[in-house]
């Protein structure tokens, strides 16, 4: 079984938010809500500051606490690519999954169910890239199978310095940032 993941080159990302707009359009995300977003991470002491611009979203973790805490099974790991999804008809809106996510990647959709990035699984199942990856003007985003050593994401991770977000939380995220 494939294990989809994403690699984002922070040296190319300019924070244009095309990925955010593409996601909202593709997935009909309600006004005022975001499935993906841009973060500017500034560190250091003036004048030696560094800035990393990141496109963030659900990390589709290998050890997803949102799935294990869900009392109804609405949050689940999908058969295709081990993508973490929510079945809205099974979600009671208890918000335990939102509290359990260290990335705060989920929100309550105005219709009452937990919502988040799906890696555009409806596009991926047709052989397309997620909307955010497809639209990126600097081509800084890559999507593929982390278990396939020949995939673009695996070769990038093998050859470039990278990091994931909050690895100390123990969720084993599957989005990696090239630095």
């Amino acid at each position: 079984m494939a294990r989809f993941g994403m690699v984002i080159d922070t040296t190319k990302c300019v924070g244009c938010m095309d990925c955010v707009v593409a996601c909202k359009t593709e997935n009909n995300v309600p006004e005022g809500y975001n499935r993906d977003w841009i973060v500017q991470d500034v560190r250091g002491t003036f004048p030696t500051l560094t800035m990393e611009i990141r496109s963030e979203r659900c990390n589709h973790c290998d050890n997803p606490p949102c799935v294990s805490c869900c009392p109804t099974g609405a949050s689940h790991v999908h058969d295709v690519g081990s993508v973490v999804l929510v079945t809205k008809e099974e979600c009671i809106g208890c918000k335990a999954c939102i509290a359990s996510c260290p990335y705060d990647a989920r929100f309550i959709h105005p219709e009452g169910y937990a919502d988040k990035c799906t890696f555009c699984i409806h596009r991926v199942e047709k052989g397309l890239d997620p909307a955010c990856v497809a639209v990126c003007p600097t081509h800084c985003m890559y999507f593929g199978d982390l278990d396939d050593p020949h995939s673009n994401v695996s070769t990038l991770l093998a050859s470039r310095k990278h990091h994931a977000l909050m690895p100390e939380a123990g969720t084993q995220p599957r989005i990696f940032y090239l630095t």
Binding site: Y33, I92, A99, G112
Partner: protein, 314 residues
């Protein structure tokens, strides 16, 4: 310097998590209070006081039914997809404390019903034949009465533990991520229940006993708070930051004044004086204990949502 700027502004998530308002703290408080009441009434039934005490063995289970139903109503009001609540009972997820909780609550109601049947008050006798039959059967068998008492204590303890486990299982929130939380909530529930009985019983023996017991629970609660905070302070930077939310941060004033001071310390002194016959028993100290228990849930739920792994790097 470490500065994060995000374009995300999801309701209830940003700028800090605030998905759970008044409903969850009220539910956790009422769940803990009912758990404590079940343990206390179960103990009295086990000791055979149902033959003497009209209050603890009859009224407490009835009051518990009302309180628990109010708590479940608060929980229901918190759900965002209310019409799908029945989904909780179409599956059992072993790794989900909330799934455990929903099934535990199913166990609590029949247990409370069994405790009410150890003694049916005269006004309700000969109304429902089945209840009279069960009550007569229980009372013909002393072992059955003891079993009902033990069952009430066990189910009550499980319910009290669950209210803490529900939060401590959510590892993304460092303040909740403590193995002490379930003991703390169980003890707080017992303390609130003892204060409740102390406040409204007219049985002198029960009032004295519960006041003494509550003093023990309050002292143990102070010890648990120390353990809870020391545990967080000796853990990761994220956990230390979470502890400082209570110790010196935005939740410090309400924590020290209302939870520790007015909720534990002052009523402990008053009740120590009362059990030593220096002052009379009044409802003041028990009300302070009960209010402190409620405020404790509000503080822990609110500060827990505010705590975050990202605090470690800030």
């Amino acid at each position: 310097m470490h500065e994060l700027t995000t374009t995300r502004s999801n309701p209830q998530v940003d700028p800090s998590l605030h998905i759970w308002g008044w409903e969850i703290p009220v539910y956790l408080f009422l769940g803990g209070l009912v758990a404590g009441i079940m343990i206390i009434s179960g103990y009295f039934i086990f000791k055979g006081r149902h033959k003497h005490s009209y209050f603890s063995c009859f009224w407490l289970p009835h009051i518990s039914l009302v309180l628990l139903t109010a708590g479940m109503l608060a929980l229901f009001l918190d759900l965002e997809h209310k019409l799908y609540v029945w989904r909780l009972y179409t599956t059992f997820k072993i790794a989900s404390p909330m799934s455990w909780g929903s099934w535990i609550l199913i166990l609590v109601y029949p247990t409370l019903l069994a405790t009410t049947l150890t003694r049916i008050p005269p006004a309700f006798q000969n109304r429902i034949k089945l209840f009279d039959t069960i009550s007569a059967f229980i009372n013909r068998h002393p072992t059955a009465v003891k079993n009902v008492g033990v069952l009430s204590m066990i189910v009550g303890a499980i319910l009290g533990m669950y209210t803490g486990v529900l939060l401590s299982a959510l590892g993304a929130r460092p303040l909740w991520n403590s193995s002490i939380l379930w003991v703390l909530f169980l003890t707080s529930g017992l303390s609130s229940a003892a204060a409740f009985v102390h406040m409204i019983t007219d049985d002198v023996y029960e009032r004295e006993l519960l006041a003494k017991a509550d003093n023990g629970f309050l002292v143990f609660e102070l010890f648990l708070f120390a353990q809870f905070l020391i545990g967080l302070l000796s853990s990761t930077h994220a956990h230390q930051s979470a502890a400082h939310l209570l110790l010196s941060g935005p939740y410090a004033a309400v924590f020290w004044v209302f939870v520790i001071g007015l909720g534990i310390f002052i009523p402990l002194i008053v009740q120590l004086l009362a059990v030593n016959h220096k002052v009379q028993h009044t409802p003041v100290a028990p009300i302070m204990v009960i209010a402190g228990g409620l405020i404790l849930r509000f503080v822990i739920v609110s500060a827990g949502q505010y705590s975050h792994w990202a605090m470690a790097g800030m």
